[in-house]
Structures are given as C-alpha cells and as structure tokens.
C-alpha cells in the first residue's frame, strides 16, 4: 500500500537511518539538508511497497559513494543522481518506474528520496540489506544472483563512468578506483531490478522502519519518557529487528583506530556503568562488526550493533566515537534473508576477517543469560 513521505519526516528518517547504519553509512546531516533542498517545491514523495511494483517494471537502487569526511567539504552539484539514472536508463534502453535505497543505513537512506523528489518518481519502501555495508556485493541482491552491473557513477561535472562486469567483486574494485578518481564523492545508480526480482531479493519496509524508529524516539523524548524503552519497543514490534537488546551500558575507556585497505578499522572498549562490572569491546570496519562482553560474543555481523548516547539515545557513528562518552550498546537481529548460509558467506563474520562463527543475537542472549 502506498503512502507519502513529507518534509516533516526528514528528521525522523535521518535519525532512524543513523541507527540502522550500525556505526557506518556516514552522518545523515548533509543528506537531510540535500533532501530538504530537493523538497523545497515538492510537498510529498510517493512511497510504494515492493508488491506495488509491476512484475516487469524497472527499479534502480542508488546512493552516494565515497568518503563521508570528503562529502562534508565537496558538497554535491545536485544533478549527479539524475544524470547517473538517465545514463543507466540509456544503457538499458528502458525507463525507470521507481527508485529505491541500496542501503537504509546512514546518509544513503535519504539520497534516493532527493532523487525521487527531483524526477517525480516514487520510491520503493525497501533496500538491499536493512542496514549499511561497505562494499557493493554485500547485499541481498548479490545473495540472489542479481548483478550490480551495469552501474553508472557520476561526478559533480556530470561525467559518468559505466561499469559492465560479470563479477560483483570486480564492479566493487573498479567502482572504488573510480570514486578516488572522481575526488572521493560521486553518485552511484546500479543493480537494475524488476518488480519480480525485487519480490525475491528486497528487504521490505525498511524505509518506513527507519522513519518509525526516528519517530518513536522523538516522541518519547518530547513526552520526557525513556527513549530506550520506546526504541526497543518499536524494534521488537518490527518484522526484522525484533530480537533487540540493550547489550551494555557504560563509558568509553579506550579507542584504537587505524586505516588499512581504504577502510576505517578499529576497536572501542567500554567499561560498565557501576554497579555493573566488566567490559565490552566492539570491533569495527566502517560499521560495527562484533560486540564482546568480557570476551563473550553478544552480537555479530550481519546482526546490527549500534552505539548510542546513554542520555539521548542518539546514534554515534564510528568516526565520532570519543574517549569518555557515556553510551549504551544496542544490538538487534538482521532480516532472516541476511542470515542464510549463502548470505553469511558474502557478509558474515568471515567476510570481515573474523574467526567467530555467526550466531543469531537471540541465541547469544540466551547463552549469556544462562551462563
């Protein structure tokens, strides 16, 4: 059933998207501004469900690609997304019926809405992961053998590189080089999918879930009731994030960052808020990967781990983590489609160099409770 996205939902979406970014995906501040500008003369954007997309209609997932730290300096021209989309349509010889977020975590939840506002297209209430991930092949599209290519990447000059390649890994490698050549920010339209394909691969309803998460916390805070109860309550009632827990409550006591292979990797250690005892360590590579409580795994990728401010429940991206912050760690389950054996081979623990096996967060919680 379709609904409408309006300007007054931008802040809620930005908040929910930051939460679902699980530490990555970039700060949605610039995304909020871009969407607000795009909606200056557009009152509403139609949001449609996966079921509303005709079988053979073309849907184009899209988003910004690059370094969040560069995006805050080299702001977009504003036409990158539309140019990418038009050129990809040219390559395909077909017109897009709708657009959709490739990832719902972080900045890229908002960008497809700005594109939809510009072109007057509807946006599909779904994405390809229900969170954020760092590489192009890390999505449920890839899990279902739907290819990233052809992919069109456009810079602020309107120059476009179109990548044709059979392997999604190859597209990722070539796209990464293109991003650098384009000055570390550019816009990607890729993964052309039909309505029929979406019904197989999409993680549905994630756009409205992100808006709902933001709204739940905003309303709780304006009524001056516990934002965590509202957040966990909303997640538990949602289809994917239903196994959700406050995993830890404490203060950041150590932070180790390094850059390797073009990623921000590192670890953060959090000491428990007295009278509780113990430590939680979270490893991250752009996004949070694994949370260990005194050495015991409490949540692991692709389940979501988000560090939030312990007073306001505001999500904290990995680049904004700082010594001394008072935080809570929230973990929640990923969609079932993200936990299949094939899915785990693409974006499970091993894909990030972790040796721990994937165990669903709800099982880890039971094990922890019955220790």
């Amino acid at each position: 059933m379709s609904s409408f996205f309006t300007r007054d939902q931008i802040a809620d979406l930005a908040w929910g998207a930051a939460f679902l970014g699980a530490g990555g995906g970039g700060d949605p501040y610039i995304g909020s501004l871009l969407l607000r500008q795009a909606m200056l003369s557009v009152d509403q954007i139609r949001m449609i469900s996966v079921d509303e997309v005709p079988e053979d209609a073309l849907v184009i997932p899209n988003g910004m690609m690059g370094a969040p730290t560069v995006l805050i300096e080299k702001l977009p021209n504003g036409n990158e997304a539309a140019t990418s989309l038009r050129r990809l349509e040219g390559v395909l010889g077909k017109t897009a019926y709708a657009v959709m977020p490739a990832e719902i975590g972080g900045l890229n939840a908002l960008m497809p809405l700005a594109l939809a506002a510009q072109l007057g297209l509807p946006v599909v209430d779904a994405d390809g992961m229900g969170r954020a991930f760092p590489e192009l092949q890390m999505s449920t599209f890839h899990v279902h053998d739907q290819r990233v290519a052809p992919a069109a990447i456009t810079d602020e000059n309107g120059s476009t590189v179109v990548i044709h390649a059979d392997s999604d890994y190859e597209v990722e490698r070539l796209a990464r080089a293109t991003v650098v050549a384009m000055g570390a920010t550019c816009y990607l339209c890729c993964l052309p999918v039909s309505g029929a394909q979406l019904r197989i691969s999409a993680v549905r309803g994630t756009l409205s879930a992100a808006i709902g998460i933001g709204r739940a916390v905003r309303e709780a805070r304006s009524r001056q009731v516990d934002p965590f109860a509202a957040l966990i309550g909303y997640l538990r009632a949602s289809p994917y994030y239903s196994s959700s827990y406050v995993l830890f409550d404490g203060k950041i006591v150590d932070l180790d960052r390094q850059t390797s292979g073009g990623f921000a990797r590192g670890a953060v250690r959090i000491a428990a808020q007295p009278p509780q005892q113990g430590n939680m360590e979270i490893l991250f590579q752009n996004e949070n990967l694994v949370a260990r409580h005194d050495g015991v795994v409490r949540a692991i990728v692709p389940d979501l781990i988000t560090v939030v401010d312990r007073e306001t429940a505001a999500p904290i991206t990995t680049e904004s983590l700082r010594y001394g912050q008072r935080v809570k760690v929230i973990g929640c389950s990923a969609a079932a489609v993200m936990r299949s054996a094939k899915a785990l081979s693409i974006f499970g623990p091993r894909a990030f160099g972790l040796t721990d096996p994937f165990t669903p967060i709800e099982e880890l919680d039971q094990q922890w409770a019955s220790r």
Binding site: V70, E73, P76, N77, A264
Partner: protein, 509 residues
C-alpha cells in the same frame, strides 16, 4: 608586567601581573560602550604599578558572541563561494535560522573553481564571474564579503585570488577568507566566514574603543585580544577575525584556573550563579570540542573549549526532588532566604550548614537538618557525576574550583584526586587573559602513502611552528601542543586528516 582584562556581560575584571604573580586585581561594572569600563578598571590598577612598566595588555571579551546571538550590530555580507559545479545543491546559509539570515542579506553567489581533497582542481577559477560579483557588490554598496572555496584548507589560492579580484572592483572591501578561520567542513567553515564578515565593522569600532581607553589612561603599550583556544591575537587581527574570540571568556577562566593552581592537567569547575562550566585542561590548555558547535542556531567548526554546562550554581532553586536547573540568577541578593527573600537556593543550603557566611545566616536557622543534608548530598553527587563525564581517562585528576559559587563544594569528590581552590579564584578569567600565549595551527588532509607518515607529520608541524612565529611567538619557545590524526575512510593511499597546533610565548615588543 602585563595586564589582563576580561570583559564579561556583567563585570569587567582586570589584573596586573608580574611574571605569574598577581600584583593587583579589580572588578568593575561592564559598560555598554565597553571602553569606559575598561578605562575604569585600568585606572584602578595604575596605583599598583608603582613606576613599573607594562609590556602588554590582553583583553578577553564575549562582546561579539553576544552581538551574534542577539542579532545586533551585524552588517550585511556578500557571500561568494568557489566550487561550482560542485556544491550547487546546498547554497550558502541554507541551514541558517531565517532571522539571522535576514541580517546577512541575500547576496549569495557560487562560481567555478575549488579543489579536490588531494589538491587537484575541480574547475578553473572563474575570474570573470568573480569580477562581475565585485561590480555587483559595489552597485549594492556592500562593504564586507565572505569568500569560501572547496578544500581551501588544502589549497587557499582560489580564495586569495578571489579577494584580489574583488578588491580591484571595490578597493576598500573587507574580505574574510574561510581558509583563514575554519577547518574541513565547507558549510561550517563558510558559516564562520560569513559571521566574521558580518562582525568586522563592529569589531573595528570595539577595537578602537579599547585603543582609546588605553590611550586616555596614558598607557602606550601594545594590546592583544585572547581567542577561543587560549592563545592571543593582535588588535589588528581581532579587527579582521572577531569570531575567533567567541569562546574566549570560558577559555580564559579555565586557563587562569590552571595557572593559579600551578597545574597543567586538571579539571576546572567554574561555578557561577546559574551554571557550572566544567572543562578539561590538558598541557595547560582547554580541551577542544570535536563536534560542530552551534552559535545562535548556526553550525560552525570553530576552535572552542569542550565545556559541559550544568544547571547548578549559587542561585539555583532548591526543591524536594533536586536543585536547579533554574536559578534566581543576579537577583540572588534579593530572592535568596539569607538576603530576606522567599526562595530557597543552593547558597541558603551551604549557609545553613555553616559552610559559608553570606547574607544573614539567622534567616536559614529554621531549615530542617535532614533537608540541608539532602541538598548537600545532591550538590556533590551531581558535580561528581558531571566531572566524571568530562574526564579524559580513568586516572584520578585534580579538580580546580573557581567562580563565586565555589563555596557550594565542601566535601571530597570521588571523581577528584584532590580539590583545589586557588587564591584569586574570582579573577581567574582576567589572569588567564594576561598569561595567554601565541599559537599557530594546521588542519589538512595529507597522503601518508605518498611520503610516509613521519614526513607528513614533519611537514605539518613545521607549518604550525611557522604560523605561530608569524603570529608573534618567540621562536625558541614554540612547542607543538597537539597532533591529531583522523584516517579518511574508503580512500586508499593513506589519506589522513592531520591537525597540529603550536604555541609559544608572546614576544616582548
């Protein structure tokens, strides 16, 4: 000897300092023209000079912050951004509160030029469009302009060239370049440049009034203004960069507290009538905020001390469930019980407990001892929690208490290794101003892959030292006070954002 002056919203404090000793201190009311308050303070200090020689006067002021927050005294600004075809999606001032944006006016242009993070050009600088903007500025009769450019923190040449072209068209135009003020983050840096440009005219007036006050008192010494990071700038640069004074008040108070206590690493708690400002001193300087700082509803990325402001002060109202955050403020001497008023305040609690003698203690003798005890417990527990929040590491740290509300603290705090209330705590801010140093800073994206980390850091520290020397520091006193590295995600080639700060003693004129 040096003189330090702090011009606050209510009081103007001044100290005469010999080395690090306070020879004399004075507190007078701040005047609306600023200058006569300063003159009165200087006149009060002169007798203590006793034939000695003053080598410098350093002034701290919140005047420009107040002007911006209240939207008073702001001049319209021509805003020119260099970066097209990038950045067109988000025009200048797109996130300003409308009321403040109206003060700035509607002259906003984006022209071709700017750089990528690695210094490569985005587009050739559009000199014709800039000259045309200059003519339009002249036609509009605008006297101040702000120029920003994409990645001007990496390469400022486009901003510099644009200023030249604008001045060819409008010879007396005051131009603020974003690269001379802010850090990475185009919107925040541009906002800072626009705020600055709108305050330049007011700043020239205020600096003049400082000059006149000093001259009329018969002193002929150079004077400086202290800035956000606890270092100083010359009178000429404050006339050009008023925004750099935005947080000088709390910075001076924290620096002063550190210097009075002789500690270089401590937590400073400045307890006033309404709030307690808590900050960290590391290496003798306030720790700076890493997040964007909002001023009057506008996002900036200024150098600002990272302060936790707590609604607890001498005038805070006491209720059953706790104390504050509301306060009787400057009506303490009218509303508090000890002054014959009807409001139970934090001050009444400490007086009733026999910990301080303020007003008439007999007026609080009737208070229930259990209630007094609860109040004291609440004050200490709240401060304890707040101090713990701002700590930089788990090690116990000494806490320095300054400000009129320091009497609220009478017990040990678990978060503090010791509590120090230095002599002259009431003029800590003016003392901090007097002993401010000279600094230089570098903030840019460097490629470790190309030259290696050591080489990149060497290059950055060299540049920071050079900037400190250019600002007036004695070369052999300059040291590097801060190096911060932030790896840029997604970029191969080891791109790292590097921030380096150097500080040194002010050269004697």
């Amino acid at each position: 000897m040096k003189i330090g002056i702090d011009v606050g919203g209510t009081n103007t404090d001044a100290v005469l300092v010999d080395g690090t000793n306070i020879v004399a201190g004075i507190k007078v009311a701040t005047t609306s023209d600023v200058g006569s308050g300063i003159k009165a303070a200087l006149a009060g200090l002169l007798p203590a000079l006793a034939g000695g020689r003053v080598s410098a006067i350093v002034i701290g002021t919140t005047h420009f912050t107040n002007a911006l927050v209240q939207g008073v005294g702001l001049a319209p600004v021509a805003v020119l951004r260099i970066g097209a075809p990038s950045t067109l999606a988000l025009p200048p001032l797109c996130d300003w509160p409308p009321r403040l944006a109206d003060c700035i006016g509607d002259f906003r242009r984006i022209v071709g030029g700017g750089n990528d993070f690695d210094g490569r050009r985005i587009a050739p600088l559009d000199e014709r469009a800039i000259a045309e903007a200059g003519r339009a500025i002249r036609a509009r009769g605008l006297s101040s302009a702000a120029v920003s450019s994409v990645f001007s923190v990496v390469s400022p040449v486009d901003e510099q060239r644009a200023a030249e072209i604008l001045r060819q068209e409008v010879p007396d135009l005051k131009v603020t370049l974003s690269s001379t003020i802010g850090r990475v983050g185009l919107l925040e840096r541009e906002n800072a440049a626009v705020m600055n440009a709108s305050l330049v005219a007011l700043s020239a007036q205020v600096v003049d009034s400082f000059k006149t006050a000093i001259a009329e008192i018969g002193l002929s010494v150079p004077f400086y203004v202290s800035q956000n990071d606890g270092t100083i700038m010359s009178a000429d640069s404050v006339a050009r960069f008023p925004v750099l004074t935005f947080a000088s008040g709390p910075t001076n108070s924290m620096r002063g507290a550190a210097l009075l206590s002789g500690l270089t690493d401590a937590i400073v708690v400045d307890i006033g009538g309404t709030t307690s400002d808590i900050g960290v001193i590391a290496n003798g300087y306030p720790r700076e905020s890493a997040v964007a700082v909002n001023i009057g509803g506008v996002r900036t990325n200024f150098r600002m001390p990272d302060l936790l402001s707590l609604g607890l002060g001498g005038g805070s109202r006491v209720r059953d469930q706790g104390i504050g955050p509301d306060s009787v403020g400057h009506h303490l001497t009218r509303d508090a019980l000890v002054f014959g008023g009807a409001t139970l305040t934090a001050t009444d609690i400490v007086v009733a407990a026999g910990l301080a003698t303020i007003g008439d203690p007999s007026l609080v003798r009737h208070l229930d001892p259990a209630r007094i005890e609860r109040g004291l417990d609440w004050i200490h527990a709240t401060l304890d929690e707040a101090i713990d929040r701002v700590k930089t590491n788990a090690a116990p740290v000494p806490v320095v208490l300054v400000g009129g509300g320091a009497v609220l603290v009478s017990r040990p705090l678990r978060s503090a290794s010791e509590i120090i209330v230095p002599d002259n705590a009431g003029v800590a801010n003016a003392f901090g101003a007097a002993l401010a140093q000279v600094g230089g800073e570098v903030d840019q994206v460097m490629l470790y892959g190309a030259h290696g980390r050591d080489d990149a850091i060497r290059q950055a520290t060299g540049l920071a030292r050079q900037r400190a020397a250019d600002a007036g520091a004695v070369a052999d006193t300059i040291e590097i006070s801060e190096i911060e590295e932030l790896p840029l995600a997604y970029l191969p080639g080891g791109a790292v954002r590097v921030r380096v700060k150097a500080v040194g003693e002010l050269a004697e004129a």
